[in-house]
């Protein structure tokens, strides 16, 4: 009796102790995608620095929360003076920089850029584990799944044809977050059906021949001008979709895979024709 009580007590206390001991207290993130997950999951006291990109309101979903933290520009000297106990980087962060700071004895964790809901969940739970915030991670995943589940139950009988169109004619084919979100929301992604893998430019004639019913775009730098961006204003694009304007989805919802993908899916779902 005494022994079991003792063990129960031990079990209750031990995780608490071990958690606080394991929790990194000076975490530095050098990429936008890890910035966002860090801001979502960590206690503010755990965050030593985030990348300057996290402040950029068009691309960062967490720009408001990011304003309270010091920023870095992912330079080796900068990182050393921050004395981090964990550095978070993305798959595509500067390789030379990452191997340099690793040689100098710092712990670096690299996160892949997910293109599926599964991948997003894996990133969240891995980040939560590293930060010692498993419970918060589970919560975040559950919330996202619930919202997606709700939309999955209201699928249209006939899925309308959609295409994602970006400056310079880039579109999102298979293995992209945009493809995942379009499918979940109840659209057909013509780019994937045309056999496009990843992000690639689509010829405007091929686009017209595919006859999309709706075009979506995510302005990366709204308000600025270039030939690449002017391509979205081509009058044929509006005519082929029977006069429907291109719908803008905020880039910050899917520039990085994260729980905010649910926002994008909801928005795509609401733009389904009645």
């Amino acid at each position: 009796m005494h022994r079991s009580l003792f063990i129960t007590l031990l079990l209750l206390i031990f995780p608490l102790c071990s958690q606080s001991a394991d929790q990194p207290s000076r975490v530095v993130s050098i990429s936008l995608c890890t910035d966002q997950l860090l801001l979502l999951l960590a206690d503010p006291s755990q965050i030593a620095s985030i990348s300057y990109l996290a402040l950029e309101p068009n691309s960062s979903f967490m720009a408001q929360q990011a304003a309270h933290h010091p920023v870095n520009h992912a330079k080796a000297e900068e990182l050393l003076t921050l004395k981090p106990d964990l550095i978070l980087a993305s798959e595509y962060s500067d390789r030379a920089l990452v191997s340099l700071v690793q040689k100098l004895g710092l712990l670096v964790e690299r996160f892949p850029l997910p293109s599926s809901i599964q991948g997003i969940q894996e990133n969240i739970s891995r980040m939560a584990r590293l930060l010692g915030q498993e419970e918060r991670g589970q919560q975040l995943i559950q919330q996202m799944k619930q919202r997606l589940e709700q939309i999955a139950q209201q699928q249209p009988a006939v899925r309308p044809k959609a295409l994602f169109y970006q400056p310079n004619g880039y579109t999102s084919g298979e293995n992209t977050l945009q493809n995942t979100a379009l499918q979940l929301a109840g659209w057909r992604n013509l780019a994937a059906e045309l056999g496009i893998q990843g992000y690639r430019a689509i010829d405007i004639e091929a686009l017209l021949l595919a006859e999309p019913e709706q075009l979506f775009t995510s302005p990366y730098a709204p308000g600025s001008q270039s030939r690449a961006q002017q391509q979205l204003l081509h009058p044929a694009l509006k005519r082929v979709t029977a006069g429907r304007e291109m719908i803008e989805i905020d880039y910050k919802q899917w520039i990085c895979g994260g729980p905010m993908i649910a926002d994008a899916v909801e928005q795509l779902h609401q733009s389904l024709p009645p």
Binding site: D203, A206, A221, G223, S224, Q225, S226, H234, A236
Partner: protein
Amino acid sequence: MRQPLPLTQKRLTGGLLLILAALFLLSLFIGSNPISLFQAMRDALLDTPSVIAMILTEIRLPRTLIAVVTGATLGLCGAAMQGLLRNPLASPGLIGSASGAALGAVCMLYFGLSSTLPMALPAGGVIGALAATLLVYLLAGRDAGTLTLILAGVAINAMALALIALLLNLAPSPYAVREIVLWMMGSIANHSMADFQIMLPGILLGWFLLMGTGRSLDALTLGEETATTMGFSLPLLRWRIFIAIALAVGSAISITGSIGFIGLVVPHLLRPLVNHQPSRLLLASAIGGAILLLAADICVRLFPAGTDIKVGVLTSLVGAPFFLYLIIKSRRYQL
């Protein structure tokens, strides 16, 4: 060396127009996807045009029209410039008009003015072209030799290109830097009918101004003094041609980017056919320029889809060796 026989003006113009018409039709046929042209033309007349009609009228037709008027402008302005300066190497590309126009257009496009005021784009091109042309002319001096003029052109070209690169680096748009090559090489892809309408007024005005200069240019072949005694006002002619070139080249380049060597090559190819007469060369060079640029653009479209080769790459590949040939030839005369 045997010279080709000079043709009568009517025959030459007719022949060139025939080639241009054939290329025009061919250009409508060639795109990234095969479409039935006949079906497309019929559909285009319907109230709700089909997709293939849209591809014809909104993608291929504007592209073809822009190629034709831009090529014609470059050929015509090259002939007028060579006539005025009596310099075989004068052309909008080498004298700075083209790069000046590109610089002016870049100022307007990337810093937001042309999005509120569409005509600001060709206006910027016209001002840039005029400024660069006058600068080269002043730098070289009125009676400049071939070499001096080319050197002044090289200097102004380098300056304009450096400024274009600088401005595009500073532009707020993240896509701007990658478009440096577009302004330096030129491209006719992905334009709409709206772009064609924007470039048209300046081009037509420029053509109109150049149309009546033929007789003065003929007189000028006899020397400046003779031309003056014959009653032609040289300063007036100079201004008229410079302004006309700025209007036409500036408007065209502000949409396409600077396309090289057409203004240089075409007048040379056609000169023997018009008996070295500047007045007859003007019209022939305009049609010849349209033919050359349209042919180059058709070639660009024949590359497999996804390879985005700028049309200026092709014209320069043909034009640069020709330029070398002209330099060697003119050196032989000087010796």
